[in-house]
Amino acid sequence: MSVKQEALVLLLAGGVGSRLNILVQSRAKPAVPFAGHYRIIDFSLSNVMTSGLTKIGVLTQYKPLSLMRHLGMGEAWDFTGRSRGLKILPPHTGFKDSDWYKGTADAVRQNIDFLEKNPADEVLLLSGDHIYNMDFHAMIEYHRFKKADVTIGMMVVPMSEIYQFGAGVTDDNNRIIDWEEKPEHPKTNLASMGIYVFDYKYLLDSLYRDKAEVDFGMHILPRAIDNDNVFAYPFYGYWRDVGTIQSYWEANMDVIMRDSAISPAAWGVRTNIEADGRPADRPPARFSNSAKVSCSMISAGCVIRGTVINSVLAPGVVVEEGAVVRDSILFADCTVGKKSTVDLTICDKRVKISGDTIVGSGMNHDFPNIKQPKHLYTGITLVGKEASIPSGITIGRNCIVNSKTEESAFSTGKIADGETV
């Protein structure tokens, strides 16, 4: 049997994603739960799987435990088998290089052994931070057709957002002729999705050339564009960076919209449902006679006795009678007590909200969080993992309740807009 070498995949999953605030307090951004029982990285991994690619290395660095548990051996994405495999590549010390990753290119360079042990024609470089559905096989075919050294997945974004991305100017042939990394005054609205196909040998040569070049967007790509063949692969579907609380919340809301552009089911997104150390055989969601649910996603193991509107509930969430959950995202095993209200709030796992409490109160959506005004400014309140909120409390907009906050930490009955507990 002779099979053409397929592309090797490297997934950069080390980023902190600090704008996600307390959601990344104990886990890397790719491991943040999304759309009920998924995690952000599932979308990239499932794209790799459905594109027919079977060899993948995942580069970790920041708080990798939760991510490593989730990845397991890669069975969930069919990466186990004689010629298949998912390898976790943590930072390591060497004879000289004992530092943490200094950038994306540095991270790949430190794992050059892995690249050399797995020869391929191309290397597909991805980040695990985005929600999208893409056929990498088509992109690799395009790369081969163009005889490119590097091909970059790119899409048109609003001019106002381009400052967050690498931006490329292309000629009529889709060849990239100019590059700006996170431009303040952009010349183009064509943004890099952080998806690169490298010619295998070209990548190795680039990495060996100069160790000071530690970042793809800042160093490797501008140089490649100046000297070699770099092409843009245009992408037209749904793609979303969920790096901020606001965009994370919006993307979750996109999942529950009717005729939504994002559909884990239609995209064939897989996840590892066993990863939490709890058996995944949760019974079906239970709706009582008093349940009122609309426009929501409800996972297995939920018990709904109250009202749930426009919300995304992960497995095992309990909403008691008289409680109202609106425009919110609740992670696994949260409980909302009787007659409590949860409005425009993201609760991390196992948050316990007692009865007669309001989380997300008032109309003061524009008063940002005092400590983290750049993270919370649209009205969303965040409650950290395993926090307990006692009865009779009113929590305003843009508030943060830190992970593992105990009931005794609430000295007053009212947490004003923008406060942090």
Partner: protein, 424 residues
Amino acid sequence: MPKSTTLAMILAGSRVDNLNVLTYYRPKSAVPFGGFARVIDFALSNLLHSGIEQVAILSQYRSYSLINHIGTGAAWDMIGRNRGVSILPPFKDNSDNKCHADWYRGSADAVYKNLDFVQYHDPEQILILSGDHIYKMDYQDMIAYHHKKDADLTIAFVQVDKSKAHRFGIAAIDSNEDGETGGRLLNYWEKPESPEADWASLTVLVFKPEVLYRALQENQESSSFEFGRDIIPQLMAQGRKVYGYKYTGYWGYTGTTEEYWQASMDLLGENPPIDMEAWGLRTNMEHRGIRDAQPALIRDGAIVHNSLVYNGCIVEGTVKNSILFPGVHVEKGAVVEDSVLFFNNHIGADCKLSRVIMDVNSVIGQGVRIGPEATSKAKVVTLIGWNNHIPDNMCIGEGAKIYPNISSEQWSKVKCVEAEEVLR
């Protein structure tokens, strides 16, 4: 690590005609139950929680669905150095012995034909179970009682209504001995016409191996090969030490479609008699890819009351007192009441379903009525076999039975299906 001392054998061979179209393509033990699981998961989960790690499943009728469901046994932690689950299908061998010639002739014959397997494991006790019952039991308690009594055979019994007792193996248990725990069997009747007692067998039997081996050998001279009908009476007649172990928890018997429906309804309500979460029910999440189903979407305008809805469902209409398996889509204006809908059924807009059990993969057109007319509630179950495409505005009367795979050509000739009619 100590070797498991108990070998469990699950009787999962039978079809059970009473379940009708649900068991056309699968054995009764593989019938879906509880919105995501299968009937046999209750026995398997009981074994898991009882720490019994050597399990064999005797399977004969349409084994495929069951084999698929068991997989490696990993779902019940039955894989490892000293743990395992084996499926034992009927087999041919080249001996002249007539009993080795053919199909399993009954539950006792099935075990007899696999005595090599049993003796190879050299267990201290053999636990024989039915794969068809819904209950939660710690078999170790029963095995401990079996040892305490130094019994040859210990059988689990549950108290039933005397009017229903004629359908079961019934025992009179000496209550002087251990009161609530159990006692020696004074008498045993298999499906007695006029029952004199009300303790019914759960088909959970613990045997002393030597006693079982001998009983099965002797039974080969007979013309009937069932544990209930033959082996238990035979040991009673021989004066063996046969004990009854009293079980007082919930017991769901799914022998008929009405009983299956009732057991399903026992999953609902505020304090359901069957609590799958508390019982620690385990199933094979790989089977039918249920682990990959996305969480359920409950759309604008949907009403879901007193129901179980698993991942993979989309509800736009009304669902009351019902159980929806993965992949069920209930369109706008449709009303599903008192029903159990298996995997991947599509219920069209403005349909009305009352007390329906629907097997997998059917597409129900718009405005279809299944059950009684107007607003009255159905009193009997209507059954829909798998892979049917029911045309728009079809009426199917209460108690009707639709066979699997009715062709669209045949459906086009049907004006309506009368109550109690069987469409095949």
